[in-house]
C-alpha cells in the first residue's frame, strides 16, 4: 500500500510537469491553430541550457535564464517560419508538418551537441527524499509539483483577468473578429509561442532532474510523450491539458513502479504507456476529455 501511495504522489507530481508542457502546446494551438511538434525540441533546448548554465549561475538562475531564452527561441520560430505560412493561409496540416521539420532540425542539432554525454540538471535537491506520513517522496517531485501549481494558478489568473488573457481568448474564439476589434493577431501569436517556450523550458528542467539522470541525446524523444497529454485532454482545452498531464504522469509512474507485476506486457512499458492511454481515450472520446466537439446548431 505504501508503494501505491508513493507512486501516486510521485505520479501526480510528474503529471504536473507534463501538464505544464501540455499547457504550452494547447496555448499555441488555441492562439495560432498550429499543432506544434517543435515543442519537444524547445523543451530539450530548455533542459540543455539549464544543464549548461547551472554551474555559472546556480539552478534557479539557470532555469530563469533558460525560460527566457526558450521564450525568445519559440517566438522566433513563430515569427520566422510559421508566420509567413500562416499569412498565406497555410492549412493546419501544412503548419503541423512544418513544425515536425523544425523539431527534427532543432532536435538533431541539440543531440549532436549533447553527443554521448549525460548532462545533469544540477537541481539542488539531487536525489534527497523527504518522508511525509510514512511515504517517501523525492524532493524534486515536491518542488516540481509546487512550482507547477503556482505557475498554473498564475497562468489561470492572467488568462482570466488581464488584457492579455482577454486578447488570447478572443483570438482563440474567432481570429477574424478579434482582428476587426483591433487585436494584433501576430503579437498574440508570438506571445503564445513565447509563453509556451518558457513553460517548456521549466518543464524540461524538472523532466531531466531526479529520478531521471539528466539531459542525453534522447531527451527530445522523451519530451514527445507530453504531446499525448495535450491531445488526450483535448487540444483546445487548458483544463484538459492539466488533467491529461496528470493522467499521463500517474500512468507512467505506475507502469514503471509495477513493472515486475506486469512484466507479461514486456519491460519498458512506461515509455509507451502515454500513447496506449491516448489510444484508448481517443477511441472513447475522439476530441479528447475536454476538447470541443464539432457542434453546430441546425
Amino acid at each position: 500500500m505504501t508503494q501505491f501511495f508513493e507512486l501516486l504522489v510521485s505520479g501526480l507530481s510528474l503529471g504536473c510537469i507534463y501538464a505544464l508542457i501540455a499547457m504550452g502546446f494547447v496555448i499555441v494551438f488555441k492562439a495560432t491553430n498550429v499543432v506544434n511538434f517543435a515543442h519537444a525540441s524547445v523543451l530539450m533546448l530548455g533542459a540543455y541550457l539549464v544543464a549548461r548554465l547551472h554551474d555559472g549561475m546556480g539552478f534557479v538562475g539557470a532555469v530563469l535564464a533558460s525560460a527566457a531564452l526558450c521564450a525568445v527561441a519559440a517566438a522566433l520560430l513563430d515569427v520566422i517560419f510559421v508566420r509567413p505560412l500562416r499569412r498565406r493561409r497555410g492549412s493546419v496540416d501544412a503548419l503541423a508538418i512544418l513544425t515536425i521539420g523544425l523539431n527534427i532540425v532543432l532536435g538533431t542539432e541539440l543531440s549532436r551537441r549533447v553527443g554521448t554525454d549525460l548532462l545533469p540538471s544540477g537541481a539542488p535537491w539531487g536525489s534527497n527524499v523527504t518522508h511525509i506520513l510514512g511515504i517517501a517522496v523525492p524532493q524534486t517531485r515536491i518542488a516540481a509539483g509546487a512550482i507547477a501549481i503556482v505557475l498554473m494558478a498564475a497562468f489561470w489568473a492572467a488568462f482570466t483577468y488581464t488584457d492579455w488573457g482577454v486578447a488570447m481568448r478572443s483570438t482563440a474564439a474567432d481570429p477574424q473578429t478579434a482582428a476587426l476589434m483591433g487585436i494584433r493577431l501576430s503579437r498574440v501569436a508570438a506571445g503564445a509561442w513565447a509563453l509556451a517556450g518558457a513553460l517548456a523550458a521549466i518543464g524540461g528542467a524538472f523532466f531531466t532532474s531526479f529520478p531521471a539522470s539528466g539531459v542525453n541525446n534522447a531527451t527530445g524523444l522523451l519530451a514527445l510523450t507530453a504531446i499525448p497529454a495535450a491531445v488526450l485532454g483535448g487540444l483546445d482545452s487548458t483544463a484538459g491539458a492539466v488533467v491529461g498531464g496528470l493522467v499521463i504522469g500517474v500512468a507512467t509512474t505506475f507502469a514503471a513502479g509495477y513493472q515486475d507485476e506486469i512484466s507479461f506486457l514486456g519491460r519498458g512499458l512506461s515509455e509507451v504507456i502515454p500513447f496506449i492511454v491516448l489510444l484508448f481515450v481517443l477511441l472513447w472520446r475522439p476530441s479528447g476529455l475536454f476538447g470541443t466537439r464539432e457542434l453546430t446548431r441546425v
Binding site: 499569412r87 493561409r89 488584457d163 482577454v166 486578447a167 481568448r169 478572443s170 474564439a173 474567432d174 481570429p175 477574424q176 473578429t177 478579434a178 482582428a179 476587426l180 476589434m181 483591433g182 487585436i183 494584433r184 493577431l185 453546430t296 446548431r297 441546425v298
Partner: protein, 544 residues
C-alpha cells in the same frame, strides 16, 4: 408612406447632405479580386462626418467585400485590393493592417454578430476596447455603451453565447464602440432578427450617429436602412448602380421594386386558393404532430404544440426569434428528441426515429444557416442528396464496376434536372464557396429535392435575402408544389413572405402555438399582431 417587408414605415429619410459636409471616409475607385476573380469594379463612395451612409444590394453584390477592403481584412479571406484605395481624413488605409485601421478610427461590426460566445458580456466589451490605451478612456467608453444598451449592463456577467439574437447584435455594436471609432461599419445588423428588434437596432444606430460617429450601414433591410440614413448607395455586381440621398433612393421606382418589395405587380403571386391539396403525385402523406414538448434542461423550447400538414399543401410556421420554430423542425427531422408528444407521417411514427430513417421516409429539409460542403461543387453537393437513392455499394463504386458507372451517370442526370428547376445550371460545376449567398440557398433547396422527398421542410428559406430575391424564392417554392405535388412546411419569420404562399399558417410564440388557421385569418388575429409586431405596432394599427 409605404410599408416595407419588415413592417417598418419608410419616412422621408433624414434630409439632404449639406454642401459643407466634411468627408470622413472616402473610397476611391476600389478594385478587389479573390483569386483572380473581380468582386469590386471601381467602387467609389464618400462618407461625410457625422452622417449615416447606407449601402444596399443583393447578395453577392460585393457589400461585405467592400467592408472587408476598408477594414484591411481581405487577406484573411484570400482577396486583395487590385486598385484604388480607402482614406480616412486623407490618410490612406489600404496599406495598414486590420489592427492599425481600428486604431485609426474605423471599426467594423461583422455580419452575423460574431460575439465571443464563451466570454462574458463584459469581457466581450473589454476585447473591443483593447486597442485604446488609457484606463479612463475605456471606462468612459464602457459607461457609454451601457447607457446605450441597458440590457447589456443587466447581463454583464453572462456568457455572450447565452444572449438572444437581438442582444448579441447589441453586444457586437457595443463591442465595436469600445474603441470610440470615428467611422462605424455595420454589416447587416438586422440579419435574422424579428421586426421589432430591427426597429430597435435602427433607432440605436441613429442615436450612435447623433452622438457624433459616422456610420456605414450595409443592409438587406432597405426599409430600415433608408429610414435612418442620410445618403445611400446601391451596389450591383461589384459596381455602384445608384447613389443619392436616402429620400431620393427611397422614392425611386427601382429601389422600391427591388429592395423595398413594393413592386407595382403585387408581391408574391398568391397561391391559387382553389387548389386544396394539389394531387399528391409522389404519395405525400399527412404530417401530424400532437402535443409536442421539448425541454432543454429547465427551458421549455416547445410547449404542447400540435399541427397538421395536409398532403400536398403548403404549411407555414411563423413566429419571432426564439419562438421554437427551428426546434420544431429539428424534432420533426429527428435531430432533437421530443420530451413528450408524437409525430406521425402517414402511418409511420417519426418520434424516436433517427434522422436517416426519417429521411428514408421521404422527409427532407434545408437549414437556416447553410449546411453545404463549401469546397465541393454544386454537382457534388447535389449528388450527396442522391445518397439515399444510390444502390451501388462502396466496393462496386470504388472499383468502378459497369453497374456503378451506369448508376453514377443516371444520378448526375437526375441532379442536373433538379439544378435546372432551381435555376442553377450555370453554376453546376462551381465550388459552392464561390457562389453568392442567394445561390447557395438554392443549392440547399436543390439538394433537399434530390432526395425526392414527399415532404419538404424549409428552414427560413429567405433569411438574409432582399425583397427581389425572396420573391423569386417564393415563386420557386410555388412551382415545386405545383409540379411535384409534395407537401411543404416552411418556417419563416418574414410574415409577408408566408402570406401569399401558404395554405395554412401556425404561429408560435415562446414555444406555444398561439394561432393556427388560414393566412388572412391569422394575420388579423390580435394576439399574433401583439406577439409578432410588438404592442407598439398594434397601437399604431389601431389608430388608423
Amino acid at each position: 408612406m409605404s410599408t416595407g417587408p419588415s413592417g417598418i414605415t419608410v419616412s422621408e429619410g433624414r434630409g439632404d447632405v449639406e454642401a459643407e459636409d466634411v468627408p470622413a471616409l472616402e473610397v476611391e475607385d476600389l478594385e478587389v479580386a479573390y483569386a483572380g476573380v473581380r468582386a469590386l469594379h471601381g467602387v467609389s463612395l464618400v462618407v461625410p462626418e457625422r452622417k449615416i451612409v447606407a449601402v444596399l444590394g443583393n447578395n453577392g453584390a460585393g457589400k461585405s467585400t467592400l467592408l472587408r477592403a476598408i477594414s484591411g481584412m481581405l487577406a484573411l479571406h484570400g482577396g486583395s485590393i487590385e486598385g484604388g484605395k480607402a482614406r480616412l481624413h486623407g490618410r490612406t488605409l489600404s496599406a495598414l493592417d486590420p489592427a492599425e485601421i481600428v486604431r485609426a478610427g474605423v471599426v467594423q461590426v461583422p455580419e452575423g454578430r460574431r460575439v465571443f460566445a464563451d466570454l462574458t458580456v463584459e469581457e466581450n466589451l473589454r476585447a473591443g476596447g483593447l486597442s485604446s490605451r488609457g484606463r479612463g478612456e475605456r471606462a468612459e467608453a464602457r459607461t457609454r455603451v451601457y447607457d446605450l444598451f441597458p440590457r447589456l449592463a443587466e447581463r454583464r456577467t453572462q456568457r455572450a453565447g447565452l444572449l438572444s439574437g437581438g442582444e448579441q447584435q447589441m453586444l457586437a455594436i457595443g463591442r465595436a464602440l469600445m474603441s470610440e471609432p470615428r467611422v462605424l461599419l455595420l454589416d447587416e445588423p438586422s440579419l435574422g432578427l424579428a421586426p421589432q428588434i430591427v426597429e430597435q437596432i435602427g433607432e440605436i444606430v441613429a442615436t450612435i450617429n447623433e452622438q457624433g460617429t459616422a456610420v456605414v450601414l450595409v443592409e438587406q433591410n432597405a426599409a430600415m436602412a433608408l429610414e435612418i440614413a442620410h445618403r445611400a448607395y446601391v451596389l450591383e455586381v461589384g459596381r455602384i448602380a445608384l447613389e443619392g440621398t436616402a429620400a431620393e433612393l427611397a422614392a425611386s421606382d427601382e429601389v422600391r421594386a427591388r429592395y423595398l418589395g413594393v413592386a407595382p405587380d403585387r408581391e408574391v403571386p398568391a397561391a391559387p386558393p382553389s387548389t386544396p391539396a394539389a394531387p399528391a403525385r409522389r404519395g405525400a402523406r399527412e404530417l401530424a404532430a400532437e402535443g409536442l414538448t421539448v425541454r432543454f434542461g429547465g427551458l421549455v423550447a416547445l410547449d404542447d404544440v400540435s399541427l397538421t400538414v395536409a398532403p400536398g399543401s403548403t404549411h407555414a410556421v411563423i413566429g419571432p426569434n426564439g419562438a421554437g420554430k427551428s426546434t420544431l423542425l429539428n424534432v420533426l427531422t429527428g435531430v432533437y428528441h421530443a420530451s413528450a408528444g408524437t409525430v406521425r407521417y402517414g402511418d409511420a411514427v417519426l418520434t424516436g426515429l433517427r434522422p436517416p430513417r426519417i429521411a428514408a421516409l421521404g422527409v427532407s429539409r434545408t437549414f437556416q444557416n447553410l449546411a453545404l460542403s463549401p469546397a465541393s461543387t454544386v454537382r457534388e453537393n447535389l449528388l450527396l442528396g442522391r445518397h439515399r437513392l444510390t444502390k451501388a455499394s462502396f466496393v462496386s463504386a470504388g472499383l468502378r464496376l459497369p453497374g456503378a458507372r451506369r448508376e453514377q451517370r443516371e444520378q448526375v442526370r437526375a441532379v442536373a434536372e433538379v439544378a435546372k428547376v432551381v435555376d442553377l445550371e450555370d453554376q453546376f460545376d462551381h465550388p459552392v464557396s464561390d457562389l453568392p449567398y442567394g445561390d447557395r440557398k438554392r443549392v440547399e433547396l436543390a439538394r433537399a429535392l434530390c432526395t425526392e422527398p414527399t415532404l419538404l421542410l424549409l428552414d427560413e428559406p429567405v433569411a438574409g435575402m432582399n425583397a427581389d430575391e425572396s420573391r423569386r424564392m417564393a415563386q420557386a417554392i410555388l412551382r415545386l408544389r405545383e409540379e411535384l405535388g409534395i407537401s411543404i412546411l416552411v418556417v419563416e419569420h418574414n410574415m409577408q413572405f408566408v402570406m401569399g404562399l401558404a395554405d395554412r399558417v401556425t404561429v408560435l410564440d415562446f414555444g406555444r402555438c398561439i394561432a393556427d388557421g388560414a393566412p388572412d385569418q391569422v394575420q388579423a388575429d390580435p394576439e399574433v399582431l401583439r406577439a409578432y409586431l410588438g404592442s407598439h405596432r398594434v397601437s399604431q394599427e389601431e389608430r388608423r
